[in-house]
Symmetry: C2
Subunit: 264 residues, 2 copies
């Protein structure tokens, strides 16, 4: 199966231009089963104010962008994961949505908010769901979630084969180094779709990455250029959790020793 990322330069506040760029880049791919777009890919990231973020937000259910993604997925017979500024009632969430030819498959709301996101978004309240596409089980993380090892592990325990990780990474190189390690120690594929460009004092670091369950980087974009990468992946590799003939990554855990992880 073919999986990839779209790395591009969203323009803060210009939803139309961003959706056009997404459309052009997704259509540039000949054949793909699953594409991952960056975090907040239609709105940009570094909002001047909560009001600006609010104006740019939209609901997932019946939202214009999500409906557009569904029609794109129908046309291309594919699935897309996209980061979205989600409006729900009077609240905003930094969310990722998984969309396919027949509609929204599922969504995730960022559990761990970075810096000034804390002034704009509610912390995620949907846990760490895994969605089964038949050919693969998909887990979703967003950007700064990467620094919390718990989330990768929970998705592995829930059976995720591929972690789709829309991002707007600003700390140079750290996440990109950690992604293959998280892929390795959980034996999963990880697709980190990062953005490029700058907004105010934030520069986004590109280097979108696909890592395989052996911890190898099988695709990586440049730090500064627009890029779509698609690779063949073998989901069976992610389902084989034997790291040696006698060591199973999941069954060798000692959960009764891990109580401390649950305490505040």
């Amino acid at each position: 199966m073919k999986t990839g990322f779209v790395q591009f330069r969203p323009i803060l506040g210009d939803v139309n231009a961003n959706v056009e760029a997404i459309d052009r880049l997704v259509r540039s791919v000949e054949q793909v089963d699953l594409l991952v777009l960056p975090e907040l890919c239609t709105t940009g990231y570094n909002f001047d104010s909560k009001e600006q973020a609010w104006e740019l937000s939209e609901p997932i259910h019946d939202g214009t962008f999500v409906k557009h993604l569904v029609s794109l997925c129908r046309e291309k017979k594919m699935h897309i994961v996209a980061g979205i500024n989600e409006r729900d009632g009077d609240k905003l969430y930094n969310s990722a949505v998984l969309v396919g030819p027949t509609g929204v498959v599922g969504k995730y709301r960022k559990l761990h908010l970075f810096m000034n996101e804390k002034d704009i978004f509610q912390p995620g309240d949907l846990g760490l769901p895994v969605f089964d596409l038949g050919w693969a089980r998909i887990g979703l993380l967003i950007c700064f979630d990467w620094i919390f090892p718990e989330v990768w592990r929970i998705l592995a325990l829930e059976g995720a084969d591929i972690i789709c990780h829309p991002s707007n990474l600003v700390i140079p190189g750290l996440c990109q180094r950690a992604v293959p390690i998280n892929a390795l120690i959980n034996r999963m594929y990880v697709v980190t779709a990062n953005r490029i460009g700058a907004e105010g004092d934030l520069t986004f670091t590109g280097l979108s990455t696909i890592a395989d369950p052996n911890g190898e980087v099988i695709a990586q974009a440049s730090p500064e250029d627009e890029e779509v990468a698609v690779v063949d992946i073998d989901v069976a590799l992610a389902r084989d959790k034997m790291i040696t003939p006698r060591n199973h990554l999941i069954n060798d855990r000692r959960p009764q020793e891990y109580r401390r992880l649950m305490e505040p």
Copy 2:
């Protein structure tokens, strides 16, 4: 404060030669506060049988090797972490002992056994203790434990500043890539003391590593040579868990979302 590792080539079954090598290498260091030795550093690793492992084991309390370490620590005004084939009653444990000038400070028993260790050792039953030396809090892990992200995190939550990680690593490079990431995402120092040489079909990979709380490798040995490395470390760096002005690595966790980690 000065912390380091001793990388050397233990000889399977020759405790006297191994203790002599340890003695020579520890004495070669001018001044150090904490030195980490490899896993099973007095006995070698790849036992022919459980009987051989039993013959080579010794207790920690009042054991010959541990008493020797205490006198070495007293003489050099230092602490040592050493991997030891621990006999306790009729059981063997793959253990690490933390020793200082006044005696044994604490011990840890490997929670996650690798390959044929399962035929020889009991799985660890002492949890993941942290020992306070006054100038630093010490957590202990052994070799294959590294692949379980839970253990690094638990030690960070328990306040460890330095993880001492006696190892006999055989899978080329994987752990050595993961160590700086675990140091980074938990903001701790990690000292991985690996061995070199071969025993039967196992070749040990050297590359003993010290990583700092920024995820930088501040010392690394060669893959094949005997080596002692000592670096200055700043424990305050490990106690500062702010990764941005508004993000604290520990306080930003969402433990109520991590229940899945405790389930079998």
